[in-house]
Every structure is written in C-alpha cells, then in structure tokens.
Symmetry: C2
Subunit: 339 residues, 2 copies
C-alpha cells in the first residue's frame, strides 16, 4: 500500500487482443493537493468492467477512447481527504470515474461530476459498485425498461454469473419469469441455480451447450438480455419468439478483436424482434429511485450480491482480463486501500 505517492496507470499502447501489463506505464507522482474549488479523493475500490477494454481501444464507442499517455479511465469509490470545494467535505464517501490511480482530484470542471454517497449506506462499498451501483442499474434498466418482461415469459441472460447477468436473472425471477442463465462451467451454473434461484443454466463450455439451451427453453425465448455476442448470441436469437425483446448491453466476446461484431439479422426480421442497444447513463434521471429499489432488494435478501475482490491497484491490468476469461463471480472489484 502506498500512502505517500499517487500511483497511476497511464495507457501506453492500445492492447492487441488480451490486455498486457506492458500496455500501461505505472508512474508515481506526489499525492496531489487541492487547488481552488477542488477536492482530493483517496481511492478505495476500483470497478473493473468490460467497458474498460473498449475505452483502451479506438473502436466506435460510447465515450472518447482513453488517450495514449492519459490515466486509465475507471469507475470507483473513494473518500475525500482534502477539500477546497463546497461540494465535498473531508470524510465524504464518493463515487465516480476516479481512474486507475490512488488519488483523484475532483473539481468543478469534471465532465462527469463525482457524486457524494449517503453517510449511512445499507450495503458495503463493493456492493455500491456492484448490485447497488452502475452494474445493478445496468441490469435494472436494461431488463425492466427495454426487456419489458411479463410474468410467465422466458428470460435468457448471457454472462449470467457476472456482475450484470447475475442481477438480471434475479430481477427477472422477482417478476415471475422463467429465468435461464448462460455461464461457463458447472460451478457457475450450479451457483446461479442453487444460490441465485435461476430456473435453469446452460454451460457454454460444455460441448452440448446448444442442446442444453434448447432443452431449457421449450417455449422459446421472450427476452434475451445480451452481454456476450458471437455464436452464443446467434444461438439464443435463433430461439427467440415473435415480438420478443433484446436489450443489447454488451458483446464481450468481440472486445478483444478488431473485427466487426457480426451476427445474423434474419431472426430480427422474421420474428419481429425489438433490439435496443443501451448504456446505463441513458437512464441517469431515474438512478435515485432505482438505486433505492435495488438496495432494498439486497438488504432484504431478495437479490444476492456477490463480489470478487482483487487486492492491490497494481493488479488492475491483469485482473481486468478475468472478465474476458470468465474467472470472476459477480462484480469484479480491485481494493486499493482500507476504508
């Protein structure tokens, strides 16, 4: 743990394929001091997300790519340790795009302002990055606003043991849907069914995964919450029903390549599927209400929250690859410092 320096991961080159430590410079700077109107934040937890990989590339994307030489962009939670700002007081817990570093300087010119969390939180800080944070909100809005699930319908979610997918499946169950998760390996499949209450799981690492998918969706699929893309997406789409819905949240299988992320459009046409891409910030004006609902569900045990915590900022570049290799259960978080 470093308290006297601010370690920063600066993007050195755009990764080709899997992310390598050598794609970053790890530099040390003095701990910053706040200028007028600014506050300095000690970062505590860093959120690792598939979108990190997108930001490292120059593919068509939601936000500008991280510039070469800039501190790697990343969501996180921290504590205000020094402040010349009316917006932040020392001791406040905050969340925002704090970056892959020990300290962040928040100021009035932040493009996306860092937000102050309530003093009393119903859940731990990692959960505030996961099921009660942007990850949970992604699941919430994508499923409920775009997926429009009705009781009795079949909802399929890919990357179902991941941060978003595990919450999607649990919200679908709360809405009375038959819920099928696609996950890699028997342990994850067992976990989403036995611990999270999914109706069924498909192990995409098993040679018979297509037959498994067919067997557990006898009435077709009404909502496909898509996180993965590629051949899994095509196999799911081939079983989607007339007038079904497909919130397109991500296509992680394609982020490590430079190829277009192609798939068959014909089921969209023939089955009149409604496909809608989205990002959680599209629903920003509804965050407060949804966060409250998610926190209540987690606090009352209706939604089980799970985090995989990696110790040490220095491990961020290697840890982020876990997302692409399916090594994490639930939300993947790097612990940077003690609370």
């Amino acid at each position: 743990m470093s308290n006297n320096v601010n370690r920063q991961f600066r993007l050195k080159s755009r990764p080709v394929g899997k992310i390598k430590t050598t794609d970053f410079d790890l530099v040390e700077e003095p701990v910053p001091t706040p200028g007028p109107g600014e506050a300095v934040i000690r970062n505590l937890y860093l959120s690792l997300d598939p979108t990190n990989r997108i930001w490292m590339s120059d593919m068509d994307q939601y936000m500008p790519p991280v510039e070469i030489g800039a501190v790697m962009r990343g969501g996180g939670i921290g504590k205000v340790v020094a402040s010349n700002s009316d917006a932040y007081k020392v001791g406040d817990t905050v969340s925002g795009l704090l970056g892959w570093q020990d300290y962040y300087v928040a100021g009035p010119n932040d493009e996306i302002p860092v937000g102050v969390l309530p003093a009393e939180l119903p859940v731990g800080l990692p959960t505030m990055l996961g099921a009660c944070g942007l990850t949970g909100l992604t699941a919430y809005f994508g499923l409920l606003e775009l997926g429009q699930p009705k009781a009795g319908e079949t909802v399929v979610v890919s990357a179902a043991a991941g941060a978003v997918g595990s919450v999607v499946g649990q919200i679908a169950k709360l809405n009375g849907c038959r819920t099928v998760g696609i996950a890699g390996g028997p342990e994850k499949c067992k976990w989403i069914v036995e611990e999270l209450g999914f109706d069924a799981a498909v192990d995409y690492k098993a040679p018979d995964w297509r037959e498994q998918l067919e067997a557990v969706t006898p009435d077709g699929i009404d909502v496909n919450f898509e996180n993965v893309g590629g051949e899994i997406m095509e196999a799911v789409m081939a079983r989607m029903n007339l007038f079904s819905r497909m919130p397109l949240c991500g296509m992680i299988s394609g982020y490590n390549t430079d190829e277009p992320m192609r798939g068959d459009f014909s089921p969209i046409l023939m089955r009149r599927i409604n496909v809608r891409g989205f990002i959680v910030t599209d629903f920003m004006e509804k965050y407060a209400e949804a966060t409250m609902e998610l926190a209540t569900w987690v606090a009352t045990g209706k939604i089980k929250s799970q985090e995989t915590i990696v110790e040490g900022l220095e491990n961020a570049p290697t840890a982020v690859n876990k997302l692409f290799e399916g090594e994490n259960l639930g939300k993947l978080v790097v612990k940077i410092a003690d609370e």
Copy 2:
C-alpha cells in the same frame, strides 16, 4: 391469354441462387367451378415481391414455406366470376393471396381471407397492389410507426426506387425530413430526386458509393429504413446517430443465398439504435385508415406511384428475378388478364 384453362405455377424445387423457370411446373387444369360457399376469381394482376423468394425457400420465415408441388403463393387482384358465397358476388374486385395462377377459389376456409375492394377505386388496380396496397402500407407503418421520423431528421432508405422504398422516401418528405435514397444506377437516382422529390441519392453501383453516402448525410442518419442488408446496411449503420431507429423491412441481398444474413451489431450497442423487424400484417388492424391516407396522397399527387408491368402470367418466374437485379421501377406487377 388462356380462358379455358387454369394455368398454375407449382413449385417443383427450392431454387438455389437465382430463380429458374425449371424450379416450377406450369400445369393446366380446367377452370374451377365454385363448391358450396366458394367463389371463383379470375386473377388480373399478380404482385411480385421479395418475399416470394423467401416463400420458395425453407429459411426461417414469416409464413410456412410453399410446399413442393403446391401452387406458388403470391398476392394479387382479381374479379369474382362465379360465386356460391355470400361474401363475394360476381363482378366484385378482390385482393388477397390469389397465387401464381389464372383462377383462385376463395372459400370460408381460406387462412387469410380474400378481401373485397370498394366498387369505386380512386386509383388503378396496379396501384392498389403498390402504393395503395400492401407495398404502400409496408412503407407507411414501417416508417411512421417504427421509424418515428421527426421534421429535420435524416431518413435513409435502401432499394429507394423500388416499390416500398419509393413510397418511404415520399412519406418522409411529407414529414419534413431530409430524405436520402440508395438506388442502383444514375437513372434511378435521377428519378427519385427529380420525380419523387428525394433530397439526395446514392448510386450503390458507383465505385464511390460510400463517399456519396458520407457526403449526403453530413449530420448522420436518424432513421434507416432497411430493405437490403449486407454491406450497404453496414455502411448506413456506421453513420447512424445516437438513439436512431432502424425499421428492418427486408434484406433482399441475402435471399438468394443460404448463408446467415450477418451484419455488425456494434453500432446498435454503441449508438443505442432501436432495430425492429416487422411485416405489414403486424399492423393489420390499422389498414383501413392508412389505405385511405395513402389513396388521398396518391390521388392529390403528393405521392407519385409507379409500376413496372410485365405482361403474361407465363413470365412470372423470370420477372420475379428483376427484384433481385434491380430492374424494376416502383411496384413490379404481372398482368394476367384484361380487367
């Protein structure tokens, strides 16, 4: 012209690639007589549509494929020449799935009932198959219900000189949109701009079509009415704006192949595009009102209707290929008999 026999094109084999005459048997039967509750219709005009090619194949589709040995399915307009039915009287003009034949027997067991047209029609019969028929309705509902065009927005339509595309562009203009059509060859491009009032055209047969598309969509694309699929669809999608809409009406470029009709999904994700497949029958309950509006537009010259008429039922199999080679202007119709 044959008056004593009923010529029928019966599907002999599923076409591989381009449709061949030898994919059909042309058989002659006696002119049918109506059984109890039935009426016999003399077919006058046959509608040729891209969906004919789909019906000939066994790809995933809207309706069951035409069975081998069955009369080829097709929309048409005809006149009732004999009737034992309360629903039809001799002399009525009717439209429906009359098939590739001289005579159709309508009855109470028709899966999709043949409809009686009003005695006084504001436009000619070919137009009742085109701009004021299912083709016009396809343009109308796809654009207005799913495309949700707003004044000042940019609407792009592929196959713009075709039956659906030419109407889409004109309705978009009526709604105050910047309207861009993609068509094959300088004549069609000139026609949609100078005759139909499109703001711009892109000639996809020109080597610089991608640059043309870029030049005429300086503010990106808000609605893509997609008829074609393939590389044209991908190029258009690459220029679609945030929260743009894409009614998916057809992907004619893929119908002559057995390959999945793939395209890049990443713009859907990154630009939050709403893609919705549809078929005109999804909006059946609104046909009457929309047909009235279309007929008014055509009758008052606000929408120009254009038909390419091929003489003689015997030419149907070769004529349908015109759709895939872009040889028709507007609606492609086969004239079977004099009115």
